[in-house]
Amino acid sequence: MNLFSIVEEIEKIDPEFNDRISPRRDAIKNITSFGSKVAVAAIPFALGNLFKKAYGQTASASVISVLNFALTLELLEAGFYNAGIAASGLVTDTAYITQIQGDENKHVTFLTSAITAAGGTPVTKASFKYVDYTAGSGSMNGPFATVFSNYTTFLSVALAFEDTGVRAYKGQAPNLLGNQTYLTAALDIHAVEARHASAIRYLLSTKGLAITPWITSTAANSNDTGISQVDGNYAGATPENTTTQGGVNILNLPSATASTTTEATATAAFDEPLTMAEVLTLLVPAFVQLNS
């Protein structure tokens, strides 16, 4: 966001803009000292509050709880990639993993700023009693005990986090229905998580795993990763192998080559949500425990 281009934009539609604000022009010039892009990023959220009367939008308690839920996931993801990159000799696809690491840390910063700007209290790492990426409930010796020593294990856990992150954001969208500021931001992060999930899957496919960048389920199994420990991440009230969307049976629709659609296409063409409770069940206590 370039603040000075914004001034120019305002001047295009409001030629008197400079006159209107001239007594405080110094303040405007100094706005860059207001801080980093992070602070600037939070501005729209503060504004969402300020102009709630005009726009009927407000950062209600439920919106802040959605944002804190998202921040919890991002803290876990960022911490995961930070530890992976820090583990000597673990990551070989550095370009991929550092890109994702950077994005997840940006999400943490962004959501923290947004929650603060909206008058809420952001969760922090200090909110966690433990974080255990081995899924060992704090033992650090769970099913993924080699997560930071075996690259395949690391990518497997990364995949679970990304696919689950996509489902978690999706599940919160209806809670932000009609909310231009927060719904749009949540979906914008959601899309980046989906890009990550696609990339991790692509990486795994280049290493010989039979997996597509999209979740291609079967009638019998929503989980297409071949990692049974994460079956639950693809299950739920609306599992990934759902084939009915809004009352339309996708299997009965014509496809590119037939009068019906295959299970593989019908499941891969639509990702499915997880509720907040479902996500928390997947994460707590295996991966994380919150301080009570």
Binding site: R20, L47, T184, V192, R195
Partner: protein
């Protein structure tokens, strides 16, 4: 025209308000009213003759998505019908999957809309060299990126939670496509800097900007006047 587009850009408007708020401008109210009123004028645009308008409300949103999915499906049908030179089998498999997903999306919207659906659109791919890998993947990136920004940008207009959930279910698949195409074009470029901002958020576009991009590949022009 470009100026008009900028005027109605919600993000820009939000940024303006932000600016006023943080600059501590006491007369922010005056400036804001002026911005807001110039905005409202644009909401009264009337459909243009010969252009297919998506309509309003949730059916309008679904028709907007239906228009984009028609375009994407037509593109990938052509890609698979006339594969570029020496298309590797792994790329053929990826692009065939994507074709099937886009046809699935198109057929879903057609079925969900029923008699409320807009007409079938005629694409114009005359600018795309389907024999060239770079041209095909380049166009695929345009369509997938456009799709992601389109769903993210129009989502807040959706009034029905079920439709919003379905839109969310489709947009992440479009993002998966976009990332894969990005990786095929340039290894590791699955979060391209032209699509994701400095905060790690995918950009979103308002419907008129999306359609400006889509109409370049459509003989049947589409508008979304109620979502300006």
């Amino acid at each position: 025209m470009k100026t008009e587009t900028d005027l109605t850009n919600v993000n820009v408007n939000m940024a303006r308000r932000s600016f006023l708020r943080y600059a501590g401008v006491g007369v922010a109210g005056v400036g804001l009213l002026s911005v807001a009123s110039s905005c409202h004028k644009d909401h009264n645009l009337v459909p243009t003759a010969g252009v297919t308008d998506v309509g309003s409300g949730d059916y309008g949103v679904l028709n907007f998505a239906y228009a984009l999915e028609q375009l994407e499906a037509a593109f990938y049908l052509q890609v698979i019908a006339t594969p570029y030179s020496n298309m590797p089998s792994v790329e053929l498999a990826f692009l065939t999957d994507i074709r099937d997903h886009e046809v699935c999306h198109r057929e879903f919207f057609k079925a969900a809309l029923g008699t409320n659906a807009i007409i079938g659109l005629t694409p114009d791919f005359s600018k795309i060299d389907f024999t060239s890998r770079a041209a095909v993947l380049g166009a695929a990136k345009v369509f997938e990126d456009l799709g992601v920004t389109a769903y993210d940008g129009i989502a807040y207009y959706i009034q029905n939670a079920t439709y919003l959930a379905i839109a969310g279910g489709i947009v992440s698949v479009e993002a998966r496509h976009a990332a894969l195409i990005g990786n095929l074009l340039t290894e590791g470029n699955f979060v391209s800097s032209d699509q994701v901002d400095a905060n790690g958020l995918n950009i979103s576009n308002k419907p008129s900007a999306v359609l400006a991009g889509a109409n370049a590949y459509l003989k049947t022009k589409v508008s979304a006047t109620s979502f300006s």
